[in-house]
Amino acid sequence: AQSVAQPEDQVNVAEGNPLTVKCTYSVSGNPYLFWYVQYPNRGLQFLLKYITGDNLVKGSYGFEAEFNKSQTSFHLKKPSALVSDSALYFCAVRGANSNTGKLIFGQGTTLQVKP
């Protein structure tokens, strides 16, 4: 069965510092991995995805994520956090071999960036 875990309910960083939001997954076969962000009272927005190729994926708003197959992880990173990055972040996974195509979301991590 597909699953995705975000082990931290909340991540706190100071503005200007690097940030990491963790995500690990479990799928049969190769994974399709996604990160989404949800700002207060707004819908989810796509940040980036990994399908195949380079393990380091660059996305919107300066975010990037690194796919690590041996550790089954897809951590979200940003070199220098902004206060405006404060939001709820979701990791999601879909197995390439899945015949249903369902995208499974993690439980979400709240990122709080303080000035």
């Binding site: 399709y32 996604f34 989404y36 707004r42 819908g43 989810l44 927005q45 796509f46 995805k49 399908i51 709820l88 979701f90 879909r94 899945s98 249903t100 195509g101 369902k102 995208l103 499974i104 979301f105 993690g106 439980q107 979400g108 709240t110």
Partner: protein, 112 residues
């Protein structure tokens, strides 16, 4: 910009009422999804569709039903709303399994 629309944005109704949450997309996507989300919590897939006349239940059991008579339209219906149905409902669509989901703005449902 995402071309997927949900109405109403907010809905407050009494117990026992029948309601339909609307979701439409203009991108021609075959795949559409309904997710349920409590505030600040994870998303749970409740229904999905891979095309016209195709609907499946998701991972979270739901008393709601859906239909897909047209590619662009994927409404969700609750025959008799209860307070336990109070939640945010997010509609999404995608062009394919490798593609990202586009989300609507959501419907915040409150059942009194």
């Amino acid at each position: 910009e995402a071309d997927i629309y949900q109405t109403p944005r907010y809905l407050v109704i009494g117990t026992g009422k029948k309601i339909t949450l609307e979701c439409s997309q203009t991108m021609g996507h075959d795949k559409m999804y309904w997710y349920q989300q409590d505030p600040g919590m994870e998303l749970h897939l409740i229904h999905y569709s891979y095309g016209v006349n195709s609907t499946e239940k998701g991972d979270l059991s739901s008393e709601s039903t859906v239909s897909r008579i047209r590619t662009e339209h994927f409404p969700l219906t609750l025959e008799s709303a209860r307070p336990s149905h109070t939640s945010q409902y997010l509609c999404a669509s995608s062009a394919g399994f490798r593609e990202k989901l586009f989300f609507g703005s959501g419907t915040q449902l409150s059942v009194l």
